[in-house]
Symmetry: C2
Subunit: 255 residues, 2 copies
């Protein structure tokens, strides 16, 4: 086991750079922190490039890490890499993976347009996973899918289904051409979701917290839906709306 | 208009204390910050005790505040009262209100057991409002309903429906006695929510982020429901699950 005690070590500097999207994009790597995320990542073979442990962290009883390179670092170094206030002493350097085959054969999608809050984005990835959706595609203007807060809110769902970035203006017509119904979400020119009769193969498109889905994208969809507001609030939180709609589409989809 | 320029002013010290639950409980007051919350509070007569404005904040075009006492404070004083990084320069001292009559005549409820994340609690208040629920009751172990982050996530729904604290172990039997069906949420000994035939008058009970609803409470309900997990995630975020269930109950309730 490698043991790094100097914060000036080039390896430490390299890891630190992974806090920046630019470096994550360049390297194809990202950091996943905490026992739960590492455990989920381990279950997805080939995801973890290496483990970083803080001195004193006991991982033996938790899982089988025998094929994964481990580097031990001082508590101070670990803290400098950590994004949490009370670090658990374990993080994984993960590989960004996306299988083209999985994307090609997918039948259900969640499409995200300019979702900016990392908690919302992560919660929607988790919800898509729970609802059995095959693929999540984050479009232009979304917060980075490998942002630490996104990873934390998604609670490991990144390792369960393909989560990729893409140009929705190209994906939507491509999906429709393949016979997959694309349901946008809008307040105007849309149908009450409870009146929709969802196709077996579908994509749900939700949008920005303040502005919703961009008009250009809404014009390309198969149909647009809304969740009715029965009370006095102006709108639903986007992750809650996505949950209501995904579960409706999932439980009412044609067989 | 009163104008306070000293941070040592006793009024400023009194307002600062409202950042603590203890003082909010004692005084029956709380602070609601930002234009959106103040605008929603103004629509609910009798809610605002006074307005606090930072020097330079222009409120004239936004709303009619003529009957509400206003105090102008320096930017530094305002900042010391604010809970946000970029204060909008306006906050209201609000009265905690709960109308016994509204509670007695309510037909639909959201009951929250030990929900600890303020974002989740606030989002659920907003969702209950959107779904047309009459009353939200926060039980033992919940974060304070007047916590600034709860208020922010609820986006003004505190001013749209009664949000109160209460002992759920007493409320649940009381509701059932009145003929209101209480649906708990549980992973074991529960029915798939899509198989439920909701009563017209109902209460939904959701629980703590990690542990769910306490066993004692689940034993007192009419029926317990679960939201199926079709993928590999372990669970749904509690606010998302509440959204899925509230909208199901709302759109399937007996007439």
């Amino acid at each position: 086991m490698k043991h790094i005690q100097s914060a000036q070590n080039p390896q430490v500097k390299q890891w630190k750079k992974l806090s920046m999207k630019k470096e994550r994009d360049r390297s194809g790597l990202y950091l996943a922190e905490g026992f739960h995320l590492v455990e989920e990542a381990i279950k997805s073979p080939g995801t973890i490039a290496e483990l970083i442990l803080s001195e004193g962290t006991d991982i033996t009883p938790r899982f089988d890490y025998k094929d994964i390179p481990i580097t031990l670092v001082t508590k101070d170094i670990f803290k400098s890499l950590s994004e949490t206030e009370t670090p658990q002493g374990i993080m994984a350097v993960c590989r960004q993976k996306s299988s083209q085959a999985a994307l090609e054969s997918a039948e259900t999608f969640l499409l995200l347009d300019a979702v900016q809050d990392p908690g919302n984005l992560g919660t929607m990835i988790r919800t898509a996973d729970a609802a059995g959706i095959d693929v999540v595609i984050a479009g232009t203007g979304c917060v980075d899918i490998y942002n630490p807060k996104v990873l934390r809110s998604a609670q490991g769902s990144h390792f369960h289904l393909p989560v990729v970035t893409g140009r929705l203006e190209e994906w939507i017509p491509k999906l429709i051409e393949k016979g997959i119904a694309v349901y946008g979400t809008a307040l105007e020119g849309a149908s009450n979701y409870t009146e929709a009769t969802p196709a077996k193969r579908f994509a749900l498109l939700v949008g920005n917290e303040g502005n919703g889905v961009s008009k250009d994208l809404l014009e390309k969809t198969t149909e647009n839906l809304y969740v009715p507001i029965y009370g006095k609030s102006e709108s639903l939180n986007v992750a809650v709306a996505a949950g209501v709609l995904l579960y409706y589409l999932r439980t009412h989809q044609a067989q």
